[in-house]
């Protein structure tokens, strides 16, 4: 009892470290944007034929925006499980970059505690964390959890809200809702292009990927088309960048 009260008298020792609640607060500016994407994801997943339980499950254990859109689109198109999983693996390989980029800030932690940080890492929480590190030269573990968990719950709620709305729409095609998925891919593609500002090489890589995707889809299978296009086009992009 005595030891506890003594410890409670010295909370100032950790005051410089950002708290869990500060992480929650720092997540707030991004909530609206991701709420709308999650909502759109919920509608698309519902119109692709997923049940409410399946949508909750995919948001809880997959928790990745573009991957959930891809899964919905490919499930609706009747692709095989193997091709869906390989396509999602390729799209989400970029997480290697995000995870690698923030790893220096958490090097002092055990592998298990690093695992907990990485499990909920997204483009969005990575962006907020990197901005924070630029200002403070350090990222607090508790702050990172506050940020990650807030973004995670927001995403789940948004997906379920979208799914509930999607349920009430009997003929999605009449409302053009079958175009929500391609429109989202167009938006993600354009936003990625703009954020990287390596236009010439990126557009060249994108056009090569499009030609390969269409070609392979016609002569072989649509599910293999995306995989072939992703591997070949990004290899060409990387090789041109090296030789330029």
């Amino acid at each position: 009892m005595k030891t506890e009260s003594v410890q409670a008298d010295f909370p100032a020792a950790r005051v410089s470290e950002d708290s869990f609640w500060q992480g929650v607060k720092d997540c707030i500016p991004t909530l609206l944007g991701y709420l709308s994407i999650g909502f759109a994801a919920g509608v698309v997943e519902k119109t692709a034929g997923l049940s409410l339980a399946e949508i909750a499950l995919i948001s809880i254990i997959l928790y990745a925006g573009s991957a959930q859109f891809i899964a919905a689109g490919m499930i609706a198109a009747g692709s095989t499980a193997t091709s869906i999983i390989i396509t999602i693996l390729l799209v989400n390989l970029r997480h290697l970059l995000l995870s690698a980029a923030i790893s220096p800030y958490f090097r002092h932690l055990t592998p298990l505690r690093n695992l907990l940080i990485g499990t909920l890492l997204t483009d969005e929480t990575f962006g907020v964390a990197i901005q924070k590190s630029a200002a403070k030269k350090a990222i607090s573990e508790k702050w990172m959890h506050g940020l990650n968990i807030t973004a995670y719950l927001n995403w789940l709620l948004a997906n379920i809200a979208g799914a509930v709305l999607g349920q009430w729409i009997s003929s999605p095609e009449e409302w053009g809702l079958d175009f929500a998925l391609p429109a989202m891919f167009i938006g993600l593609l354009v936003l990625t292009l703009i954020s990287r500002s390596k236009y010439a090489l990126d557009i060249a890589t994108g056009l090569i990927a499009m030609i390969i995707a269409v070609g392979v889809s016609i002569v072989w299978s649509p599910s293999f088309g995306v995989i072939a296009a992703a591997v070949i086009a990004s290899t060409i992009g990387a090789v041109i960048e090296k030789w330029k």
């Binding site: 799209v91 290697l96 995870s99 938006g187 889809s217 990387a238």
Partner: protein, 108 residues
């Protein structure tokens, strides 16, 4: 409110291949480093995958090349691209795409 076994397997597999790249560098990076060519290759992956998906959505219809003359999706893609470039808003892009296709289907 049910979860079909085949959908469950797809979700589980997709979650696993997403989880591993998220946590592996954080856990192991003191021991391994991704070579420079590997980083460069990974850098182009999102662009390549997104482009392939867009092309497939617009040009492929049930495993065949979609006839250009009757392809309303392709026409709807034009304002969608334009709004994405101008507003940089994902929600705005999706709403534009959906409304464009809805209007095109009413007209044609």
């Amino acid at each position: 409110m049910e979860v079909r076994p085949d959908i469950f397997l797809i979700i589980l597999g997709a979650a696993l291949v997403t989880f591993i790249p998220r946590v592996l560098p954080l856990m192991l990076l003191s021991r391994i480093t991704i070579p420079e060519w590997g980083m460069r290759w990974l850098n182009y992956m999102p662009i390549a995958v997104m482009s392939a998906l867009v092309a497939q959505e617009l040009f492929i219809d049930e495993g065949r090349f979609a006839a250009l003359s009757t392809n309303v999706e392709l026409i709807a893609a034009l304002p969608t691209f334009w709004v994405a470039v101008k507003t940089r808003s994902l929600l705005g892009t999706v709403v534009t795409g959906v409304l464009s296709l809805m209007l095109l289907r009413l007209l044609f």
